[in-house]
């Protein structure tokens, strides 16, 4: 079942967003490990949009959360905003050969999402950034 939330993309709304997503995905199987991965991805993506997509003026974000159907425990979440076009997948992964001094303190969030999510896709359509991730139960990921 899919549920929708439309909310202003500002950091004060993070708790509301996480609660909505967790609640919406609670239908069907939903393990604590999967729940934690969903929380991490939702936090990183929402904060990224709050910080970058609407740097000029505030705006809304639309979040669609699909708890999956039947025996599938695959959870799907889409984040849609009308901010500046930004493809988070275009960022380079962190350079693990850098020294402590050279390592930048930014860019970690999207890397975490890429590490945790099973699939991640981005498109820019009709003036909207659309980022969709899918997360399965980590216990089943080897299947």
């Amino acid at each position: 079942m899919e549920k929708e939330l439309i909310i202003e993309a500002k950091k004060e709304n993070l708790k509301t967003v996480i609660s909505f997503v967790q609640d919406a995905l609670s239908d069907g199987d939903y393990s604590p490990a999967q729940r934690k991965q969903v929380r991490l991805c939702a936090e990183e993506i929402f904060m990224n949009i709050a910080r970058h997509a609407y740097a000029e003026e505030p705006g809304n974000i639309r979040i669609l959360a699909d708890s999956g159907s039947g025996e599938s425990s695959l959870k799907t979440i889409s984040f849609i905003d009308k901010g500046a076009p930004f493809d988070p997948l275009s960022a380079d992964p962190p350079d693990m050969s850098l020294s402590l001094e050279e390592t930048p303190v930014g860019g970690l969030g999207i890397h975490l999402v890429r590490s945790v999510a099973d699939t991640i896709s981005y498109s820019y359509q009709d003036g909207q950034n659309i980022l969709t991730i899918q997360i399965s139960d980590p216990a089943n990921q080897s299947l």
């Binding site: 950091k11 993070l14 708790k15 934690k36 929380r39 991490l40 936090e43 990183e44 904060m47 962190p94 693990m96 402590l100 001094e101 390592t103 303190v105 930014g106 970690l108 969030g109 890397h111 975490l112 590490s115 945790v116």
Partner: protein, 98 residues
């Protein structure tokens, strides 16, 4: 979060419980900034830390950078989930995990 300083002020033990996310990481960063004067040994005990996002990682990285020129920093008792986050971000190489 709990902050314990040794009598001479050189050692600071910070115990973090529960979640370290975009909401409370700035609070931790600010408090550390206030407490860090004179500290040459900074220790984080993460025994009861259950969740960390990139906002928390940033605080550890900034602290590690600062402590490099003035002493040592240790991260103790990170659980499996938190360790996994340190691994995928390459932080196991940058931080002193014990």
């Amino acid at each position: 979060m709990k902050f314990e300083k040794s009598e001479d002020g050189s050692e600071l033990l910070v115990t973090i419980e529960g979640d370290l996310d975009s909401d409370n990481a700035p609070v931790l960063a600010k408090r550390l900034e206030e407490e860090l004067l004179g500290v040459t040994s900074l220790i984080f005990d993460l025994k009861d830390l259950e969740y960390v996002s990139s906002a928390g990682l940033r605080v550890f990285l900034i602290m590690q950078k600062q402590m490099k020129s003035r002493g040592t920093m240790e991260i103790r008792n990170a659980n499996e989930d938190v360790l996994e986050i340190f691994k995928v971000t390459g932080f196991v190489r940058l931080l002193n995990l014990v």
